[in-house]
Amino acid sequence: MKTNPKTFTKRKSYVPFHGPCDPCPPIGRKYYSTPPNLYVGFQPPNLPQFPPEEALKCGTLWPTFYDFYENPYKKGAGRGHG
């Protein structure tokens, strides 16, 4: 991965413009996913693997590609990403 591991996030956000004449209260932040497959390019050999049982549950054999998703608008859901 060419990205800086210290600043790498799988979710980004932005604040849409909210004008004084908009009918609804502002949603605040809008979130979008930037999953790992956007950054890896061709998968390098010998990446670490999940144990088989865990891999079956996660949907991938490789932790590099694992990206748990939670509704970002749910109360208490991981704010502060991106």
């Binding site: 996913s33 497959n37 996660c58 590609f65 998703y69 509704n71």
Partner: protein
């Protein structure tokens, strides 16, 4: 030739009686970026693509049918015991009028499936770029479904399916790299 294993790719458990979720899930059943569209798109493209990536299209196209079966199971579980009144409250009265609680290939808004959702340009790069886009759109659809659903067990299965879209997108991106054949060029120059 296919071999069928009489089990789901990942367990499907639905813990709350909420037929409205069935209506939303139909987006992944018969929608433009749904599992049926994905399976038919990839399996059809296999015939006119370089040999190196045919196997990938077969594998992923086949897996999409396994996903379709999971979505069908979710919809079935959410509607099989629903009364006409419950289906009406869930916004499924138009569906009921035509289909009872039978499954049908249509999207969340009731628009029937059409082959026009699928492209086959015959250009390997154009087709694989469409496949990557299709995976990202399906991933996004799963996110919106998880956002709409508050059933933890259903969301668990939806998260598995979303993760598979991430992996499929990765593999299609690698297929593009294979066809570009620039991977090891740096070593030569």
């Amino acid at each position: 030739m296919w071999k069928y294993e009489k089990k789901l790719q990942y367990p499907v458990k639905v813990s709350t009686c909420n037929p409205t979720l069935a209506k939303y899930l139909m987006e992944q059943y018969g929608g433009a970026d749904g599992e049926l569209a994905a399976a038919l798109r990839y399996l059809n493209q296999r015939y006119t693509i370089p040999e190196k990536v045919i196997g990938l299209l077969t594998d992923i196209g086949t897996e999409e049918f396994a996903h379709l079966e999971m979505i069908a199971t979710m919809i079935y579980k959410l509607t099989k015991d629903a009364t006409p009144q419950q289906l009406r409250d869930a916004g499924l009265s138009e569906h009921y009028a035509s289909h009872d609680s039978a499954l049908y290939y249509e999207n969340a808004a009731g628009v029937p499936f059409t082959a026009a959702y699928i492209q086959a340009k015959g250009d390997p790069i154009a087709d694989l770029y469409e496949d990557i886009a299709a995976e990202e759109k399906a991933r996004a659809t799963y996110q919106w479904l998880i956002d709409l659903s508050d059933d933890p067990d259903l969301n668990d299965s939806l998260r598995f399916l979303r993760e598979r879209e991430v992996v499929h997108s990765q593999r299609f991106r690698e297929a593009v790299e294979i066809l570009k054949e620039e991977r090891d060029r740096k070593k030569i120059f």
